[in-house]
């Protein structure tokens, strides 16, 4: 049985994602021993001390400049050997979904996926996670050592930094056995944060009526509050928004503080993807649309009329 928690701290070009601070802070709050942050592809990370990291291990050089499964698995394997943690935490995003199962299969570990709560029970970590697209919840325990958990972004919150710096040391990793090579990268269609990590989302439904309608109504409204644009499946299937924008049971599961649904009826498959949003705003011209049963604030109106007014009010509020 190991000691402490190893946190995989993700960054984008040396800038830590919000989830890095969120995971470190949660790991520290659990009080299971020292928190070590592993940083792959960037030599820094002292600032993670401000959120509770006791030590930072960095892996640089070789093929670490961008994510690859071989580097990810080798680096975490080396860090586990160096730290002997009781648990490993990673953010439940694209990297962990690709790399963590491969690591777990290599080391024979169990992975508690996508937990939204974590507590200690008699010295053992217990996660709570949604299943069946949020239609049910269950506790999840992992009996391997280390126990691996992936944590849903925005579920735990980020405290203010204490300003403390953590000691940073380099971890030597030899990456071997790469079976694939990244031959190209296609840049994201927009510079905003990924839906699964977004703190604000504005989604449009089928009734945006065209790609032009989506681009003129939804994107600027999202842009006004730094939100990520999303869409219903009907909107995506009609070709008005790319499939990467789909929110729902067969799209992205999102967890923002603010979710604005524009002209979305609120079918069960859509709700499955966004029902845990803290505040839900629904704009729909049909007062009987099911989305209103889940909305914190509802507006029964034509979204093409309300949308631009709302955008102007939001811009004014944020400017003032």
């Amino acid at each position: 049985m190991g000691n402490g928690i190893l946190v995989i701290a993700e960054h984008e070009g040396g800038v830590f994602k919000k989830s890095a601070a969120e995971l470190v802070a949660k790991a520290k709050a659990l009080g299971l021993g020292p928190v070590t942050a592993l940083v792959i592809g960037h030599a820094g990370g002292a600032e993670l001390g401000g959120f509770g990291a006791d030590a930072v291990l960095t892996v640089t050089g070789g093929d670490t400049s961008r994510y690859s499964v071989a580097t990810y698995v080798s680096a975490i394997q080396a860090a586990i050997a160096a730290v002997n943690p009781a648990a490993v935490f990673a953010s439940a995003g694209a990297q962990a979904r690709d790399g963590m199962p491969r690591l777990a299969a290599r080391l024979g570990l169990g992975v508690g996926a996508d937990v939204t709560e974590l507590r200690l029970d008699g010295g053992a970590l217990v996660g709570r996670r949604p299943l069946y697209a949020g239609k049910a919840l269950a506790d999840v325990r992992v009996s391997s050592s280390p126990a691996v958990f992936t944590l849903r972004a925005n579920a735990f919150g980020v405290p203010a930094s204490t300003g403390a710096a953590a000691p940073v040391s380099a971890l030597a990793v030899s990456v071997s056995g790469a079976l694939t090579k990244v031959v190209d990268r296609e840049a994201p269609t927009s510079s905003v944060v990924d839906l699964t990590e977004a703190d604000r989302i504005v989604s449009g439904g089928r009734s945006v009526a065209s790609k032009d309608g989506y681009d003129k109504l939804i994107r600027p409204l999202a842009g006004a509050i730094g939100a990520t644009p999303g869409a219903s499946r009907a909107c995506v299937d009609a070709g008005f928004a790319p499939h990467s924008h789909q929110v729902g049971q067969t799209g992205k599961v999102v967890n923002p503080s603010l979710y604005i649904a524009m002209g979305i009826s609120g079918q069960i498959q859509h709700l499955a993807g966004m029902r845990t949003s803290k505040i839900i705003v629904a704009v729909n011209k049909d007062a009987t649309a099911p989305i209103f049963q889940h909305a914190t604030y509802g507006i029964v109106a034509d979204m093409f009329e309300v949308g631009p007014l709302l955008q102007a009010e939001l811009q004014a509020a944020l400017a003032g």
């Binding site: 694939t180 604000r200 309300v306």
Partner: protein, 260 residues
């Protein structure tokens, strides 16, 4: 080349599910089942490769009980050739790694050169089994792939790289590829296929047949204390002209909800 498809049956997406009790979990009695939506993309990709004469045989694998046979036959109706169902008491509470060990052993025994999976089963929502199979077999992997090209024994896969970016991976077969929406549009069953599905046989294998012991698939992940999500608090419909409600909403988001 033989191509394998991992296919799971899951509750239909529009079924309102109830938690039976804290121990049993979701009550599936009488719930309509369907092929996991992401596995439909995996199956379609395999069938396209068969149409292109790259695949000789499409073998569908599932771990589950006999009530999943109907879903396997749905796959034959669309053009799959062989059906393998893995069932064993030792897999009753299997975690992702246990499922992956069973599926990996079966695909290996059949000499599959490419194994297609969905990116995620929408019941357990783990998104783990495909990459685990790849590691267990020592094969290349492509996760959440929305475009796949094969040429000879090499492949190129467009995969999610986080933040909306996509990486283009190249590698050599054999490989495990998990499919995402956007990769293709699944076909409907053909009349010929539906006829064939009536006669289709399911090859049922237990752990012993796969050369595995119950201990090898013993779960390390345990679920308990099942419950329903808390209902959302009653919301509020704002009244007034479009200009009034827009203004009121922004005020509420700022002062009451404190999210902007």
């Amino acid at each position: 080349m033989k191509i394998g498809v991992c296919l799971k049956q899951v509750p239909a997406t529009d079924s309102p599910l109830k938690v039976k009790d804290a121990v049993t979990g979701v009550d599936l009695a009488g719930v309509k089942m369907q092929i996991n939506p992401y596995d439909e993309f995996a199956l379609e990709e395999a069938l396209k490769l068969k149409d292109a004469k790259v695949a000789t045989t499409v073998i569908v694998y599932t771990v589950g009980s006999a009530d999943a046979d109907a879903r396997l036959k749905d796959a034959v109706a669309r053009g799959a050739d062989e059906l393998v169902r893995i069932e064993d008491a030792g897999l009753a509470d299997a975690d992702s790694l246990g499922l992956a060990r069973a599926l990996a052993a079966a695909a290996k025994a059949d000499g599959v050169g490419l194994l297609l999976c969905g990116k995620q089963a929408i019941d357990s929502d783990n998104a783990q089994v495909p990459a685990m199979i790849a590691e267990l077999l020592g094969w290349a992997q492509a996760t959440e792939c929305d475009k796949l090209e094969l040429s000879g024994s090499s492949f190129k896969a467009w995969v999610a790289a986080g933040g909306g970016a996509r990486d283009v991976l190249s590698g050599a077969l054999p490989a495990v590829v998990s499919t995402d929406k956007g990769i293709n549009s699944p076909r409907s069953p053909s009349i010929k296929g539906v006829m064939a599905s009536k006669k289709a046989k399911v090859d049922v294998r237990d752990l012993a047949a796969l050369g595995l012991s119950a201990a090898a698939v013993a779960p390390k992940v345990q679920l308990s204390a099942w419950g329903a999500p808390a209902p959302r608090p009653q919301g509020r419909i704002l009244q007034g002209s479009a200009a009034q409600v827009a203004k009121e909403l922004v005020g509420l988001l700022r002062s009451e909800a404190k999210v902007i």
